[in-house]
Symmetry: C2
Subunit: 345 residues, 2 copies
DNA sequence: TTGTACGCGTTATCAA
DNA sequence: TTGATAACGCGTACAA
């Protein structure tokens, strides 16, 4: 690890000159010395010490990606294909802009904020925040923040949220399901907050518009904890028989449900129609291929990172960026079974 | 961002005392002052500046995770469920040990090494390295390195490789397939290097042991680039009719193949048996559920991180750690179809 | 038990 | 065009 000081010594010049060459301050240095220094830099393969640089400049070139893990969901958040794709988009964008990504996963907002302060990160991307987390964060951290899929940041000024038109996406899918002739349509999710709530609302709007009444029992709650999921699926498959279609809040749940139904001898889509949301590998590789609502997750990551970089440069950004969805019609939603035919298939 | 200096001023003491309290050097400081300082630290929510600390100590508390992306495979490496799970295991282990993870993805080994030097990372975990990459790395970087699934690091001293008994896993699966009565068994992969080669060798060993001859054409090469995959699958499905079972190098390919076969009216396992390797979500959620070789990917990440931490502490570690595999028998491998029955199903 | 002073590698200011 | 020197925040040897 050669330092500027050493280089200056060996070349018989001052550190300032070397530093000037490194930073291409052309006006400040003669052509001759510039050449000499540059050659030497190549030769010894000089790499700047970023700690020293950051200390001197009070910046870090680090962008923090903090994932707030949910206690009940995945034991390993990153295994969610959604999260994985998101990270890919973010990392690529950050890297191309000359920044670096530091990943931090925690259930504890406090810990996340300590981490962020410690590293003096230049900007922060948050995923999985709910309710008052945002407020807690904004009092501690004064640099730019971009949130992903967060529905509770309205009042907060220097935040931007990058989200999806979840409500509209679900609305359009359920409208399509209804147009296929379905009247008894359930909604499957594991909670009714944030993104899930928005999708639920879209579902309700489509029902209402078609004059179909919604009641509490049309909400099928899945318990994702691995210990409970089988029991949970048992109950859901049983209740599913009262419906001809189920709108699932995610592709993962749609595929999980289809497998469970298949195991119990109920065929999709002949026995029941299933729709997903997200459009990931899980649904496109399954057979029958899943009818779902598409969102471009990588793009979401890219937009989030780009917006954050803008903020860091001091440019103005919108407070809310909403990406569109698109219906992907494949094979799991068809005409409903004859309504007299209520047994197993 | 309050500094030690400020704290010392406000408390009318020296920075050394404050620093001593922070580092719990109990013997060096009176109970009274310790209490006073600690209270004040809480009050102002002191967070150390890690750049200054690292600069002073010449360490970074950063562990680099460098993924060498392959040009032809995923446009977004992290979308590989394998990679995602791996990262989860690594991040968790590193975080619990008080280190931080910096993720860097590149196709260019040089770039990876520059990045690593810049940040002065205390240790490095490498994934996706092939052939001479290891040598290039070891000349540049003198701190501890752990490789994952790398088959070409034999000679290199301060490396440890964490791998899997790929050969044995494939061997056992193919042996099982043969025990079900199959004689015509193909192998599907996209290359014959590293991990893929080891699995191919296991397949060959099982064939040989059973007195089944292997010929070049039994290797079905899939081309994963999205533009070519359909064409590729067309050819593979056609050639698949010559076999009663196909050993796939990964769950992803197994599921991809099953979908393609289903689309062409060939049923699994009635028409053809399929086996995978990895045991991830893709295979367990598919119906029929995939018979596959299990590996604990998260554990692999944990072991890699733990080994690296050991190396950083100066402890001895083995040069090669090989994790075991386990057969997961589900529904996609059964008795072969009658051999006269060669058409579509 | 506490304080002074210096070094870590870099950038920035200002003088030569 | 170049060079001395201070500053960034922290840790630590050594002095008091």
């Amino acid at each position: 690890m050669i330092t500027i000081k050493e280089i200056a010594q060996r070349l018989n010049m001052s550190t300032t000159t070397v530093s000037n060459v490194i930073h291409g301050k052309a006006g400040e240095v003669s052509e001759e010395t510039r050449r000499r220094v540059e050659e030497f830099l190549k030769e010894v393969d000089y790499v700047p010490n970023i700690n020293a640089r950051n200390l001197a400049q009070n910046e870090s070139k680090i962008i923090g990606l903090a994932l707030k893990a949910r206690v009940d969901k995945y034991e390993n958040l990153i295994m969610d294909p959604f999260v994985a794709e998101l990270i890919g988009g973010i990392e690529e964008t950050i890297r191309n802009a000359g920044y670096f990504m530091m990943l931090y996963i925690s259930r504890d907002t406090e810990k996340i904020m300590r981490h962020v302060s410690t590293w003096n990160v230049d900007g922060l991307i948050l995923f999985g925040m709910l309710d008052d987390d945002g407020i807690r964060v904004s009092t501690k951290y004064k640099k730019p923040i971009v949130c992903l899929d967060t529905y509770s940041m309205e009042g907060l000024k220097h935040f931007t949220n990058v989200g999806l038109d979840d409500e509209q996406g679900a609305y359009e899918m359920v409208k399509y399901i209804i147009s296929c002739g379905h009247q008894r349509i359930a909604f499957l999710s594991d909670n009714t907050k944030g993104v899930d709530l928005a999708r639920l609302n879209g579902y309700k709007r489509a029902l209402k518009e078609a004059g179909i009444e919604y009641s509490e029992k049309d909400f099928l709650k899945i318990r994702p904890a691995s210990a409970e999921i089988e029991e949970s699926l048992d109950e859901i498959c049983h209740r599913a028989l009262d419906y001809t279609a189920i709108m699932c809040v995610s592709d993962l749940y749609a595929v999980t449900l289809m497998s469970a139904l298949t195991d119990r001898g109920i065929r999709v889509p002949e026995g029941i129609s299933i729709a997903g949301f997200d459009d990931n590998m899980l649904g496109s590789l399954y057979r029958p291929a899943l009818t779902t609502v598409h969102q471009d997750v990588k793009q979401k990551g890219v937009v989030a990172a780009e917006t954050l970089l803008k903020k860091i440069r001091g440019e103005e950004t919108e407070a809310q960026i909403t990406l569109p969805t698109r219906l992907v019609i494949r094979d799991t939603v068809t005409k409903p079974r004859k309504s007299s035919f209520m047994g197993r298939f």
